[in-house]
């Protein structure tokens, strides 16, 4: 097999180093007001925004707090706002958000209680996913290619990496703290599509509430920022349609009087 070694996706730009000004949101509990700190970072353009934060932590300020683990968009822990927009900094190359000598603004996610610096409290968010009975192990669609595969079904992780970017981008989550939020509703829809032993009725009744799927105002910001192909907005709409159909059906059946 022939190898293409001059692959453009390699994304390395030789030994070029850029100087980037990081403006980082800072807050420490019980020690002063939130503010922004500026750090100058030497970084290659193909390196990521998270690499830069790690450099700041390693060489300039060991008290900077930020969450990260997998560095490849799989664990969902690194979510912040980069230049105002919700992103996973572990997969955003520097050159995608600025140029040599430019500034990168890093702020914590919105609509979550702030803990310190770039760290927010995900407790409520995770509780809602649990309340949706969301199990992240699903059975996958077989990889398309030939006919053998119909029997070849496997387990895999759900697409949703529970990063919270959608909740931060959602204007309704901003004004209604009780709103379940896009991730939990998308999770409910997944559990209805593929129940994995969970009772879909309880998932439905959980979503069918004032602060559940009916609270959404169709801004679609969640799907704009979701890094993992979940399309939570579409899931919320599908959930509504499903609930609406059932409600209508029940209405007609009640008219018929013959079914309980």
């Amino acid at each position: 097999m022939k190898q293409e070694m001059s692959d453009p996706v390699m994304a390395f730009d030789g030994n070029e180093l850029w100087t980037i000004h990081y403006r980082v949101f800072r807050y420490k509990r019980s020690s002063g007001k939130p503010h922004y700190d500026k750090f100058n970072v030497e970084i290659a353009p193909h390196e990521t925004v998270l690499d830069g934060l790690e450099k700041i932590w390693a060489f300039q300020d060991r008290s900077l707090t930020f969450r990260h683990a997998c560095h490849h968009a799989s664990c969902g822990s690194c979510g912040i706002r980069v230049n105002g927009v919700e992103k996973l900094p572990c997969i955003v190359p520097i050159r995608e958000v600025t140029r040599d000598g430019g500034t990168v603004l890093c702020e914590p996610l919105r609509n979550f209680p702030l803990v310190s610096d770039l760290v927010v409290d995900l407790g409520q968010f995770y509780r809602r996913l649990e309340e949706a009975h969301f199990q992240i192990i699903r059975s996958s669609e077989p990889i398309e290619r030939d006919e053998h595969e119909s029997s070849n079904v496997h387990t895999r992780f759900e697409n949703c990496i529970e990063c919270g970017l959608c909740v931060s981008a959602c204007p309704v989550s901003g004004t209604d703290g009780l709103y379940f939020g896009p991730a939990a509703l998308a999770a409910s829809w997944r559990m209805i599509q593929e129940p994995r032993g969970v009772d879909p009725l309880s998932v439905r009744s959980n979503a069918d509430q004032e602060h559940g799927c009916w609270r959404c105002h169709v801004a679609f910001e969640c799907s704009e920022v979701c890094p993992s192909n979940v399309d939570p907005a579409a899931a919320i709409m599908a959930l509504r349609q499903d609930l609406l159909k059932r409600k209508l059906l029940r209405l007609f059946q009640r008219g018929d009087h013959d079914r309980a």
Partner: protein, 391 residues
């Protein structure tokens, strides 16, 4: 001296990577009062950035049968205690060339010795299962490899430890060990949420700081020269296989493709660095991984990397290893041997064997504190990882 109840013994665990969290869980389950301190986020060290492979042991069956056997046993245990954080689809050891296929009988025997179930598949069977594997493959062994999510792996252990009374403090860095004479009696930490310093007293401190374990033991004046040995991984956009795809042969660079969620992770390489923080990634390693990955799965050529990352294996400097006469996947030191009471260090190993490492460590802790409490981690199902955040 009257015997103290186990609950009144307080153990501090430094580091919330796979090793530290498993130790915390084991100790909490045995009844100890446990406090975990981690300077960063959970799994922000080596563990979070590893290759996510739940080893079946097959990878090491020819080179290191002891580790292989241990992996095989732990694989069974982890499947049953943490099914909610794993993709369990098996793995293939594929022969691409005659040279690879020459290992066939040796591999088969080695797997048998280590207790790993590994049936041989013909090229047609391989392609039926994994249509994207190289069409000219010469057959493969099927093994019980799996895939885990390292963050959720750690959170599950910690959530369970918490349920059993453990305190867990991320963003809490150990700056000093509290010592009386040479004996360690606790840790002095900085809480990075508040920038305040505080002391945590303990009957015993377990150093599970991975490649940074040397920094901790140095605080007690001990020499524990680490040899941080990083490996590069490239996460490709798109999933091209359901099973872990390995190249048949002795373990070497770029011989695994691990599918996870919507990605395929190529790995890995090995070299040596002076320090384990922010390791620069050599360009040629990435090129090598891409080349070797495409040899296994040609369709990867259509894809592009979405994340390139590296971390260091927490290995002990070879020279020290020899003098200490321990040759296992991991090493557990009682520093009393060097005159420092109250400090135990656990390094090396794998995420896949962290439960076993924890069992050994907790056994040592028990014997040091004169406690008799059996290990129960083999049969205790772990809590949902989410419980860590909301309890």
């Amino acid at each position: 001296m009257a015997e103290k109840a186990v609950q009144s013994h307080h153990v501090v665990v430094i580091g919330a990577g796979s090793t530290g969290v498993a130790v915390a869980h084991d100790l909490a389950l045995r009844g100890f009062a446990v406090t975990v301190v981690e300077r960063g986020a959970i799994a922000s060290g080596t563990t979070g950035r590893n290759h996510c492979l739940l080893h079946s042991g097959a990878r090491y069956c020819m080179s290191d049968p002891v580790s292989a056997q241990e992996c095989a046993q732990e694989n069974d245990v982890l499947r049953s205690i943490m099914p909610h954080a794993m993709e369990l689809n098996g793995g293939l050891f594929v022969a691409l060339t005659e040279e690879h296929r020459a290992y066939k009988s040796r591999f088969q025997e080695a797997c048998q010795t280590c207790g790993i179930d590994a049936p041989w598949l013909t090229p047609e069977q391989v392609l039926a299962l994994e249509p994207h594997v190289h069409p000219d493959n010469l057959g493969a062994f099927h093994v019980p490899d799996g895939v885990f999510d390292p963050l959720r792996f750690c959170l599950s252990f910690l959530a369970t430890a918490r349920r059993n009374g453990a305190d867990v403090f991320p963003f809490t860095r150990v700056d000093e060990l509290i010592q009386r004479g040479s004996a360690v009696e606790g840790v002095k930490v900085s809480d990075l949420h508040t920038n305040r310093v505080r002391r945590i007293e303990a009957d015993l401190v377990v150093n599970a700081a991975g490649p940074w374990a040397g920094e901790i033991s140095a605080m007690a004046g001990l020499m524990l020269p680490m040899d941080p040995t990083p490996g590069v991984m490239v996460s490709m956009r798109g999933r091209y296989c359901q099973r872990v795809i390995n190249r048949l042969g002795m373990p070497s660079d770029g011989d695994i493709v691990v599918p996870q969620r919507e990605t395929s992770i190529l790995g890995t390489t090995s070299w040596s660095v002076p320090r384990a923080d922010t390791i620069p990634i050599p360009e040629e390693h990435v090129a090598l991984l891409l080349e070797r990955g495409r040899a296994l799965i040609p369709a990867l050529a259509e894809s592009e990397p979405q994340g390139i990352f590296t971390v260091a294996r927490p290995l002990i400097h070879e020279m020290v290893k020899d003098t200490r006469q321990v040759s296992r996947g991991f090493e557990c030191f009682d520093h009393a041997a060097e005159g420092v009471q109250g400090l135990v260090t656990i390094v090396g190993g794998k995420t896949s064997t962290s439960r076993a490492m924890a069992e050994t460590t907790a056994d040592l802790v028990c014997s040091k504190l004169g406690i008799q409490a059996p290990c129960r981690t083999r049969e205790t199902r772990l809590e949902s990882y989410r419980a860590f955040y909301y309890t």
